[in-house]
Amino acid sequence: MKKSLAILLSTVLLLAMILSGCGAKTSTAKTGDIKPTTLNFWTFQELHKGFMDDAVATWNKNHPDKPIVLKTDVYPYDEQHNKLLIALQSGTGAPDIVDIEISKFANFLKGSKPGLVELNDVVEPVKDKLIMGRMENYAKDGKYYGIDYHVGAEVMYYNKALFEQAGVNINDIVTWDDYIAAGKKIVEKTGKPMTTLETTEHWSYYPLINMQGSDLLGKNGEVILDNEINKKTLEMLKDMLYKDKIAVPAPGGFHHSEEYWAWMNKGNAASVWMPMWYMGRFVQYMPDLKGQMVIRPMPIFPGGKKSAGMGGTGTAITTQGKNIELAKQFLAEAKLSKDGSIKTWSLLGFDPIRSDAWTDPAMSADNKYTDYFGTDIFNTLKAVIGDIGSINVGAKFPNAITLLQKNICFKVLKEQSQTPEQALKEAAEELRTK
């Protein structure tokens, strides 16, 4: 009898030894009389940490009665989303506040009981001032679950010097036909391609279908990937590469590769279309183009929109937090208030989600982006802002984006192993059976 007791005892001891490593707790220092509440924040973008730290400082100044300490963890992109998925799945370990990238967001709204908190009570009071298309991206059944940092307006970045060399006026480009015609002149006069197209990611293709009112999924999450507009647009891109010969596949496959940055920095292409937030990449990774690049509205399709809201990161609150109400108030002040919105521009170089921020004098102050692109950035943006709608982020969205990146764009634009019709149809059929 006693022997078995001893075995049991040693078992318990061993278990205790193994498990004691898991329970470490962090303590917070007391400041003043009121103990600050610690909130945990996960992000995959170092820049967002700086933004949130600034927001905490503002919050603590405005609300001395309920101070906050924000404990931020910056993880790699994939790792953070995986960790969050597992934490929500297992019911423990999730942070109070978390950044979720738009193409992953649908994963967290699956099922009948999402692990995220509904934010309607802080969103609705400022609804008329927000660019609501950007809120719909993180909504399900009329409930808002995330708040974005930016609008992500799709714009065209032109290389002034190359256009002057070719004698083409940038401001004459209004439609895609103009763009292609100008491209031919650029190629002829300078020997350099008009633009580059992404073949392993979706930033060249997706905004164009969105500007024509199409999408990957319909309003109710049904698959519309293989519709006529999408087919025609993909054909247009393919023609730019191989028929009109005004474009080349982006070196490295996409506009975030080291190869592309190094190549583009030498002024090797006359233009590129990317969302507004891509400005940061120019400033950071292509310093030699400073003063050479200008931002203009996208060329338009007949009857199409002037821009599209692309990309994004929704900041959400998890249901596992102990201070959900406080986290919500803080998040609203940080990202939904006018001051907060202005800070997304001044700190991060993003186009703010509050339209009343756009006309604020603070927005025209000089910063590293105006130094780089000139002072008319916001005039360009104001001209297109009214046209920015939402994208349809149904449950199949993460899967659709993946297929778009690794199959459709690559096989049609790079490998040329499938026609636009074949590739779109194959992917659409696969999505429909899921």
Binding site: S10, L14, S112, K113, E258, K406
Partner: protein
Amino acid sequence: MADPSVIGLGKPFIRRSRLKQLFSSQKTAPYVFVLPFILSFLVFFLYPIVSTVIMSFQRIDGPGDITFIGLQNYKNLLNPHFFNAVWLTTRYTFWTILVLVPLPLVLSIFLNKKTTIGKNFFRSAFFMPALTSVIVAGLFFRLAFGEQQTTLVNSMLGVFGIKPTIWLQDADASMFVMVLLCTWRWMGVNIIYFLSGLQGIPEELYEAAAIDGASEFEQFLHITLPSLKPVIMYVVTISVYGGYSMFAESFALWNGPRSPGEIGMTIVNYIYQEGFNNNNLGFGSAIGIALFAIVMAVNLLQLFSSGFFKKEGT
């Protein structure tokens, strides 16, 4: 001997002796010593394995939102992505074995020779890559095999007048890069295995063969190879396992799980994409079980064909 003052110490004395008994008794001691392994096995291996099997029959939509869907996940396996992943991983495994058995074998024979100069230096130099992190090595390979004219590999090829190649967007070229990365990393480990096998072969055999007039190549064919058979079998077995479980190399080369046209999508990569990127943990589990079945089948086939299960001495 019955000193009354000792009687008071009787109890602790007995307890200590019981503990002593526990560790010295032939019946219990083995269990005590393997207990840490058993416990960690139960908690970190058996429990997840059982969970995976159960999850492979479920659709998991979120916390507390789980539906039992029978064999649906396994039926969904019959899709081009899975077949592509199996075929790609099989090719990868084949190439790694084709390179990582003969090459280290030959190198280890040279490293085992008394006459080789700088033996110890080469031994450690070959082993060094095994100590680096896959992610670091993968990142280095990704940049070295970049498509620009100025990247390491392309500029080296340029010396010989070969045009720059786009390595990581082509199925064959990227298979080459993956196998090269694997060879670079694991060659040293296999050399160690073969070296230890070589050192177990008695010197007398070679001497006797030499007296009988066998050439070096004949000695290799008739003494070295047969003696190394168990080691070769072991290396092939772990290489099959290693090849089929490849994930990090491809993840690092393409900066994530998505490679263009799925040219680097291994089975584990597919698990990762379905399980985590698409939040389909049930389906991910089913792929995992399928992977287990494939590796098991390949290994058994290989062990059967090499006569591992034959009774010895009959």
